[in-house]
């Protein structure tokens, strides 16, 4: 039962990865791609890690650390990339 749940989480995560990464190939703006990446990609990665956590509970400190750094860094990096890539002078 737990095994099935963890495989479901991992497969869902890979589905979210494809969903978030495929817009990278289009001709859209950086902000559009950043949005799809930071939402779907982060959710997919977290789902994969939760699947791994269910599979091997003995490694939980490491995996919880991975989830926390994913949640913090991907939001911060999203803001920084959006700020740096937009035209200069408009933020003063």
């Amino acid at each position: 039962m737990i095994n099935l749940l963890s495989y479901t989480c991992i497969v869902l995560g890979i589905f979210f990865w494809f969903w978030g990464t495929l817009p990278l190939l289009g001709d859209r703006s950086v902000l559009f791609k950043l949005h799809s990446l930071s939402v779907a990609d982060t959710l997919g990665s977290m789902s994969i890690i939760i699947g791994l956590l269910l599979k091997i509970p003995s490694e939980w400190p490491l995996l919880i650390l991975a989830i926390i750094s994913l949640a913090i860094w991907n939001t911060v990096l999203g803001y920084v990339l959006a700020y740096c890539s937009s035209s200069e002078g408009s933020h003063e």
Partner: protein, 88 residues
């Protein structure tokens, strides 16, 4: 067996940002693709560490996840500063 298949699917998703970084000349699109590839690689390392039941590989993945993203953030600031200096 299923984790092996999952790893193959992950390698397929990893090819997408690599292709994007290769064919796009805009520096911010490249940064975006590299940020995506870094996250995907570290998650793949975590999957391998669980697959092989090896803690030390997992530690490498978590270090890439935190320090690698911090490095990308610093790189974005350096690039912005260089652009500002070039436009002055």
């Amino acid at each position: 067996m299923i984790l092996n298949l999952a790893l193959i699917a992950m390698i397929l998703t990893l090819l997408i940002p690599m292709y994007e970084a290769w064919q796009d000349d805009d520096i911010w699109q490249k940064m975006l693709a590299f940020a995506s590839a870094a996250t995907k690689c570290s998650i793949m390392i975590l999957v391998v560490s669980v697959l092989r039941d090896d803690w030390m590989i997992g530690v490498v993945g978590v270090i890439i996840l935190s320090v690698g993203n911090a490095g990308l953030m610093l790189l974005a600031h350096v690039l912005k500063r260089m652009n500002d200096l070039a436009n002055e």
